[in-house]
């Protein structure tokens, strides 16, 4: 039963990722990216990471993807003039040649596949993992062992917030 759900989520994730790769419409690609991120959140749950799945949905689907869709809306061309790279419908984008993409991505995938199939990971053979809620452990770890990275991440987010508003608004004053 769990395995069927797992394979369904794998098909869902990889299928919508391939749709992002194949579609030429940037807005459709953003919506397919939403499905991919939801599928990855489901895979997180099946790997026993409940807190990470919820934060994946909140950060990526609720934050990053809204940002991306706003970026698509703010950067579209309102004139429908055709350039070398865009169709008259401004939101479409053309592909480069498929040769290099397939060569590089296929090569990396075949190398990774061979390494993963041949490799014998000691950690993964240590018997069945036990499943319980990870929220407790993550909270305790964040306040003890990972306190300094946690604080640095807070400062990084503050700097990114101020930097993003500064960069995006800098030409308005001229």
């Amino acid at each position: 039963m769990v395995q069927i759900v797992f394979y369904l989520f794998v098909l869902f994730t990889l299928g919508s990722a391939l749709a992002v790769l194949l579609t030429k419409n940037v807005l459709y690609a953003a919506f397919f990216l939403l499905l991919t991120l939801l599928g990855v959140a489901g895979l997180f749950v099946l790997a026993g990471a409940d807190f990470l799945a919820v934060s994946q949905i909140m950060i990526y689907v609720g934050g990053v993807l809204v940002l991306i869709i706003f970026g698509v809306m703010l950067t579209h061309k309102t004139d429908t003039a055709k350039t070398d790279y865009t169709e008259p419908n401004f939101i479409l984008t053309k592909h480069r040649s498929w040769l290099w993409a397939l060569l590089v991505a296929g090569g990396i995938f075949s190398v990774l596949y061979r390494a993963l199939v041949r490799g014998n990971f000691v950690l993964l053979n240590q018997g069945e993992p036990s499943y319980r809620s990870t929220v407790d452990t993550i909270g305790r770890q964040l306040m003890t062992e990972y306190l300094i990275p946690f604080e640095i991440a807070g400062i990084l987010l503050l700097v990114a917030l101020i930097g993003a508003t500064t960069i995006a608004a800098s030409s308005r004053t001229k």
């Binding site: 991505a105 990396i108 993992p129 993550i138 930097g163």
Partner: protein, 102 residues
Amino acid sequence: MEINSGLFLLVGAALFSIGLAIVILKRHAIMVLMGIELMLNAVNLNLIAFSQHDPVRLQGQLFSLFVMIVAAAEAAIALAIILQVYRHFNTVQLDEMNELKK
């Protein structure tokens, strides 16, 4: 549960390759950003697959939590830069920004 953890690693590898293909193939700056997000997600999947065998310290899950934080910051800055580029060049197609080539 009876899921083989190696399958998570294979799914992560496939997702990483698809993200890399998107980065190389697309000409739109926001599509390249989407490919980078997909690659970061694939790495998170790998870290979590290993982390389920480490329930005491959960190092992999905490690492992927920090990866998510950095990815969110990166997306915000990248979109601000893309907006600025759009105002300057009036396009976001990467092949049209060839000022240094002229």
